[in-house]
Symmetry: C2
Subunit: 210 residues, 2 copies
């Protein structure tokens, strides 16, 4: 079928990206050669270059895919109905689900963004900064609406959320007994509750750590 | 002075550890050679081996120092007075202060533990597991006492806390306008509040992420 033949290169390309992601994740980007990639893909080394000009092009595409999804999630959340807290909850849940369902690309974003060529690294850093700014803006909107606590620096609040959600790549495994949705819900429950205005007694002074 | 001479090797050793940590952090452990270390330390390459048998020995000592402090923090918190929530708060604050005041060794624990020789990696993983188990036990004690929420899986609650606190190494810089203690307090305020039993309305269903 002509249709099948036309789509073959795209499928082949996606399969190569998947294999490259696995290898970069297992061995590290620097320790993976184009020869390793070709061998795992079962193709000649020269064929790798038919799809990707460089090894770095593979890593860049894998990382940019993740940021593309993060950008889409942020845009969808921002455009949606609902108060800032519901939006922040949706963003947190998207983030956790993205890391659990695309575990290896997510881990590459965290561990290998620094391996990109300087100009690509800068672009990826700008993507990361834009996502973080979008999350912080939701937190600040929530504070202005009185729905989130104003007694904690908004950037630190954002770093609590990003740290907890980004760290998912370090412990989550596909055989986890909980679904991505259950994990996402637990994370958003804890993080949103932690950011709500607090009533009652204030916290005791810094204890053993001082 | 004889006394001064006797302490010189220890100071020299500590200085070498500090320099090695910087280099491993800047370039990555694998990309740092013993020749690089000797050059940065201003000594002959052979002298490195007088203090450390191998390059890996330097990394192991740096990583084990961090776990030694974490173990001491956990033991002090566990032995202290106070309810499980106060203890958990103290552990969180210690953790954040440790990462802010020992930024590079903390980052090496996160980024380079996998570079250790297998038998050392296993030992370090056991240290990490013991610390995590100690934190989770405090969370479970808090739940049994009715002081922490029981509607979120204790392991997931622990992963929220560990993720938020471990992530500090990625964004904290020594010129941060906030003190380590201020950051530690903000983190423990948000995380403890998020783990308290929640009253009032339950959360809405998973939104845009489903």
């Amino acid at each position: 079928m002509a249709g099948g033949e036309r789509t073959f290169p795209r499928k082949r390309r996606e399969e190569m990206l998947r294999v490259a992601a696995e290898l970069f994740h297992e061995r590290g980007y620097a320790a993976t050669s184009t020869a390793d990639l070709a061998e795992r893909m079962g193709i000649q080394r020269g064929s790798v270059y038919y799809y990707f000009e460089t090894k770095e092009g593979l890593l860049l595409e894998l990382i940019q895919d993740v940021y593309g999804r993060a950008r889409a999630s942020l845009a969808r959340v921002q455009a949606g109905d609902g108060d800032p807290v519901a939006k922040l909850r949706a963003l947190i849940e998207d983030h956790v689900i993205s890391f659990t369902t695309n575990l290896i690309p997510g881990a590459l974003v965290i561990n290998e963004s620094g391996s990109l060529a300087p100009e690509h690294r800068d672009r990826v850093r700008a993507d990361a900064a834009a996502y973080e700014a979008g999350m912080r803006e939701l937190i600040e909107e929530g504070r202005r609406a009185g729905a989130l606590r104003a007694d904690v620096d908004a950037r630190l609040a954002c770093m609590v959320v990003l740290g907890a959600t980004n760290w998912v790549h370090r412990w989550y495994r596909e055989d986890d007994e909980r679904t991505p949705e259950e994990i996402a819900r637990a994370f958003s429950d804890v993080l949103i509750a932690g950011l709500r205005p607090q009533t009652g007694t204030s916290s005791p002074p810094l204890s053993s750590s001082t």
